[in-house]
């Protein structure tokens, strides 16, 4: 049980990188990006193929991340320069990446059994700390990446990206190239997703063409559950919540499997979790809203009337 628990948390922390990527597009850019399903597998494929070809695991992981960035930029270009709508541009990339991933691997899966991966290196380096060495190493790296995301979103470029997702008209009037902001955001997001895919491939010791299927939903589940459980009043808080959400999601799956859920039903369970999280968070919001609004009703009504009076005058 303890072994399963650390395993779930480890996987959760690695998937958290993917969830952070989904957070960047879904929440920060307000861009529901489906590229993720393709770029996650791209990350795994690139890392696996580079490792089996003798590259160092670190280089392979960085290569995978770069491939994800390219995939995200393509989606961004399709949307901004090709004027294709958000969902469709993501779907197009996702479908194209399926073939590209097969091309990268040359077959449907690439085993990494017995190969040197980042995790075998960590284990041999920190062998005295077993069995928590992998969790510690992964946890520290993910926290560092979280910190880097927080830092980036507070820079001038980061603020412009956030404003692009928040109010496009406004940020354009403040001389930000919204096309570039979207491309940067999508690129970073898919870089994180591919990094996560690369680590998962090394962790489970194989890359598979279908490893990305449904990943976007797992990402959404992590973001929404995390925000609901841990709060999202600031960026720092929200990125922390997303990591927490990814771990909670893994734990739920582990318990579901323990009590006898058929692994074939996992995606259905994930979909149900997302629906519950979405609907309940909306319900909680309206409930909170109502509680806050009630005492203020009168001044609001008065303001509404004022505005209406003005518009009458215009006609």
């Amino acid at each position: 049980m303890l072994y399963a628990l650390t395993g779930s948390v480890e996987a959760g922390v690695i998937y958290a990188l993917m969830a952070l990527g989904v957070y960047l597009t879904f929440r920060i850019l307000d861009f529901p990006d489906l590229t993720v399903d393709g770029s996650f597998a791209t990350g795994g494929a690139v890392a696996a193929v580079m490792i089996t070809n003798g590259y160092s695991p670190l280089l392979a992981t960085l290569g995978a991340m770069l491939a994800g960035c390219v995939a995200g930029s393509v989606t961004g270009l399709l949307h901004t320069k090709g004027k294709i709508n958000t969902l469709l541009s993501g779907i197009i990339s996702m479908i194209a990446l399926y073939s590209i991933n097969l091309r990268i691997m040359g077959k449907a899966n690439t085993p990494l059994l017995g190969a040197d991966t980042l995790f075998t290196e960590i284990s041999s380096f920190l062998s005295s700390l077993q069995p928590l060495s992998i969790l510690a190493a992964v946890g520290v790296s993910v926290l560092l990446i979280k910190w880097a995301i927080d830092w980036f979103l507070d820079t001038e470029i980061g603020l412009a990206i956030r404003a692009t997702g928040d109010n496009t008209k406004m940020i354009r009037s403040f001389s930000a190239n919204t096309d570039n902001m979207k491309i940067i955001g999508l690129s970073l997001s898919n870089g994180l997703v591919a990094l996560s895919g690369a680590l998962i491939a090394q962790y489970q010791e194989f890359a598979d063409i279908s490893m990305g299927i449904g990943i976007i939903i797992i990402g959404l589940a992590s973001v929404i559950m995390g925000e609901a459980i841990f709060g999202h009043s600031s960026i720092r808080r929200a990125t922390f919540a997303v990591i927490g959400g990814a771990i909670v999601y893994r734990l739920i799956i582990m318990f579901a499997l323990r009590i006898g859920l058929d692994p074939n039903d996992l995606k259905l369970l994930t979909a149900i979790i997302v629906v519950i999280a979405l609907v309940s968070s909306r319900m909680i919001d309206t409930w909170k809203d109502r509680r806050v609004r009630t005492p203020k009703e009168e001044p609001l009504a008065a303001a509404g009337q004022g505005a209406r009076g003005e518009s009458h005058a215009e006609t």
Binding site: L159, D166, M170
Partner: protein, 274 residues
């Protein structure tokens, strides 16, 4: 931070030359939105534009800001041709406040973050921290000039502000980096009368303090007469009346209506009720 006050002189700060715009060209619903608009604003000019709905005021604003391209004609800002520049490129020189109080600020970002976005308007955005200690002080100082107490709420989300507060913040953000041209597009129309008055007073104060070259569209004739040093009336895509400074000082709403009736041959109650 602040640039020296702009020199006054004969040069043009904003120059529109033969601007023409037709919507739905070659269809049954073809509509000439603007025909041959020529307009020159000198540094420090504050021009108010009135006109009935569909007169072309908003189209004109959109064409100056770059949200829309003219069919023909040129736009110059401070001697530089900007006709071919995109909206975000022109935005370095143009400050804008929109009619909708929601449009001018990013609701999920804090007041200081919004100001930081405005602060980077005329420069290349870098990986420099958007809100650092020095800027925070500057933001606080600027916000204090609004007398709304916003300087104590730097980390409040802009979405929590009232319409009037948001519009005041928008005005401050639009003028933060000393734009060459300030465009105000009915920026008090969506507010209740008391707040509209507050924003009108703030506008006067801000423009007078920094001598911004300003173009303001309004539906409110009283406001159009009170503010600025020149008044323009538009109708059917044309400038039909241009009142210079001296004459504008003695202008009344009745005068405007009479002039409009003379020019159009009929009194238009849409203007009267504005």
């Amino acid at each position: 931070m602040r640039r020296p006050a702009k020199e006054q002189g004969g040069r043009a700060m904003l120059k529109l030359n033969g601007i023409r715009k037709v919507f739905n060209r070659r269809t049954a619903s073809e509509k000439i939105a603007l025909q041959e608009i020529n307009l020159t604003l000198h540094p420090g000019d504050f021009v108010t534009i009135i006109g009935s709905n569909g007169a072309g005021k908003s189209t004109l604003m959109n064409i100056i800001s770059g949200g829309m391209a003219p069919d023909c004609g040129t736009i110059e800002i401070d001697g530089e041709m900007v006709t071919g520049l995109s909206e975000y490129e022109r935005a370095r020189k143009i400050g804008r406040v929109f009619q909708d109080p929601m449009a001018g600020t990013a609701p999920t970002m804090t007041i200081e973050e919004n100001l930081a976005v405005a602060f980077s308007r005329d420069r290349r955005r870098t990986l420099h921290r958007g809100v650092d200690k020095k800027r925070k002080e500057l933001f606080r100082e600027y916000l204090a000039s609004l007398h709304l107490g916003l300087e104590h709420r730097l980390t409040a989300k802009a979405g929590l502000l009232s319409g009037g507060e948001r519009q005041a913040l928008s005005l401050l953000m639009a003028t933060f980096t000393q734009p060459k041209v300030l465009l105000l597009d009915e920026h008090t129309a969506a507010l209740d009368p008391a707040r509209a008055q507050l924003i009108t007073a703030l506008t006067r104060e801000v423009v007078e303090r920094s001598k911004f070259t300003t173009l303001m569209v309004t539906h409110n004739m009283q406001q159009a007469i009170e503010l600025g040093n020149r008044l323009i009336m538009m109708d059917a895509g044309q400038i039909i009346l241009d009142v210079p400074e001296e004459e504008k000082k003695h202008l009344t709403i009745e005068d405007l209506l009479k002039k409009f009736a003379l020019l159009k041959g009929v009194a238009d109650d849409r203007l009267l009720l504005g």
